[in-house]
């Protein structure tokens, strides 16, 4: 009987504790001292999703509503002749990136929600093109996920090149949690790898598997909106939105399964569970998970000498809590978190520019630059 009661007690505790998702082990605090402030670079933007810095220090940036702008000498120019963009839900014109040898070849890469195809709706597309005056020319569609859907969620869409020149991009699971992420014959919930011209590398992990999408590099993702190459190891780091809780930072390795939705540290938006497990053989554990969710968007490693206290740290935008998060890492583990620039606006993207300064973009605000505080 005693045994029965203690079992019952144990069971109750377990059940009760399981219903509450475990919070992140490291909490984010306000910094003790702050030596930096913000300078507005481009004001009055709506949803600046992607941005990249050209060799002449001008900024090429997207508005999610479907416009591409060049900001040069204090002036914004609209770039014309974009592909057809499907603006719906979280979809629209999304990321922009330069070829690693942009100075020689002029290639610009765009990710966007595209209606191309037979079905109604849209899916994520990757295009490369060149800038000629205020026009986009030499457009080449490198990848278009299928099938289209009218769902509004989870287009993913960050673009990143590694040190060897491979092109990586993310596509979210498009609101089809139980259909796409674990199936390598379907698009969505994946990180992809291509050559810069769209060809599929022979050593991509699933090239020999029948019916597989050969461009897939890793799978089991929900909605990755952060991709960055680690400046020292050259390895791809990713972050993705969880549902309620369970946003993750992952180190992406070829052919690996990151578990969504079989394993997760999150629960449904309603608070009910969709899985009982957070780990499983054959599925990768995150470097870090955020519970509660911060809604991470954009990320960069700080390598510049302009911010000595932050060197080597990871910066991540929070769409939900309107701040920039600084994560201090040690041996690929997060050991400290700080909330920088609290009470600003939803942070959409963050990048370190070739001039060494860190820029970030905010919804309903614009693009700002982090500068040392004036004495």
């Amino acid at each position: 009987m005693k045994n029965f009661i203690s079992t019952l007690f144990f069971l109750t505790i377990t059940l009760v504790s399981c219903a509450q998702p475990a919070e992140s082990e490291i909490k984010a605090d306000a910094p003790e001292t702050m030596n930096y402030e913000l300078e507005v670079v481009i004001p009055e933007l709506t949803n600046p999703w992607g941005m990249v810095f050209l060799p002449d220090d001008s900024i090429l940036f997207t508005e999610k509503s479907g416009s591409l702008f060049l900001f040069q000498d204090g002036l914004k120019t609209v770039i014309e002749d974009l592909p057809e963009i499907y603006v719906r839900g979280q979809g629209g014109l999304l990321d922009v990136e330069l070829h690693p040898r942009y100075k020689e070849n002029g290639w610009i890469y765009l990710s966007y929600a595209s209606p191309e195809g037979k079905e109604e709706g849209g899916h994520t597309a990757i295009m490369r093109a060149k800038l000629n005056g205020n026009k986009l020319t030499n457009k080449e569609l490198l990848y278009k996920a299928v099938p289209n859907t009218k769902k509004g969620q989870h287009w993913g869409s960050r673009i990143e090149f590694d040190h060897a020149g491979y092109l990586y991009f993310s596509i979210g699971e498009r609101g089809q949690r139980d259909v796409n992420p674990q199936d390598i014959t379907k698009d969505g919930g994946k990180i992809y790898r291509l050559f810069d011209d769209g060809r599929i590398p022979d050593d991509n992990p699933f090239v020999d598997i029948n019916n597989a999408k050969k461009a897939i590099y890793s799978y089991g993702h929900r909605n990755p909106q952060g991709l960055v190459i680690h400046p020292e190891t050259g390895v791809l780091w990713e972050h993705e939105h969880g549902p309620k809780g369970g946003d993750e930072i992952n180190i992406i390795e070829k052919g690996k399964n990151y578990g969504w939705p079989v394993i997760s540290y999150g629960v449904n938006y309603s608070g009910t569970k969709f899985t009982d497990i957070t780990e499983k053989e054959g599925m990768e554990q995150p470097v870090f998970y955020w519970t509660p969710s911060i809604a991470p968007c954009g990320m960069t490693f700080v390598t510049s000498d302009k911010y000595p206290e932050w060197k080597g740290d990871l910066l991540v935008g929070s769409l939900k809590f309107k701040y920039l998060e600084r994560l201090v890492l040690q041996d690929n583990k997060v050991i400290k978190r700080e909330k920088l620039f609290e009470n600003t606006q939803d942070v959409r993207n963050v990048r370190q520019a070739p001039d060494g300064y860190i820029y970030f973009s905010m919804e309903g605000t614009g693009i700002v630059k982090i500068i040392p505080k004036k004495q």
Partner: protein, 136 residues
């Protein structure tokens, strides 16, 4: 035997059609039901399944004085985006809501859903035409 199976199936099908014809659904109820699916896809991630939002971040829709007293402005916010400061149940919100790219009929459906859920009540059905008439 085969014939009787076929006639049974025919009977079931025809009776269900007759039943459907006899009890047409209320158009508001149908709109609310379509609207609940739109809500799940486009709104729930911020405003949450119970419509309560997140205090000081995402305004509540459940028992929201702003929503129920400003239905036209709310439709305009869904259609064209919302970037002005608003006061909801005594709290100020100045976040940015992007336009969702929904068609007018989808906006009508989701508005009928939110204005008739979580304690909200709005008997005057919001129509596609009414949404179409709202300009920036």
């Amino acid at each position: 035997m085969k014939l009787s199976v076929i006639s049974f199936i025919t009977l079931v099908i025809s009776s269900s059609i007759v039943k459907f014809d006899l009890a047409p659904q209320d158009p508001l109820a149908e709109s609310i039901s379509r609207g609940s699916e739109i809500y799940e896809d486009f709104c729930m991630q911020c405003h949450l399944p119970d419509g309560k939002g997140v205090e000081n971040v995402f305004p509540p829709l459940a028992k929201s004085d702003y929503l129920m007293n400003n239905i036209e402005a709310s439709i305009r916010g869904v259609k064209f985006g919302q970037n002005d400061e608003i006061v909801v149940n005594g709290k100020t919100y100045n976040g940015f809501m992007q336009p969702m790219g929904l068609d007018d009929d989808e906006i009508a459906d989701v508005m009928n859903y939110v204005t008739n859920s979580w304690g909200n009540k709005n008997k005057d059905m919001i129509t596609t035409e009414a949404v179409a008439a709202i300009k920036k």
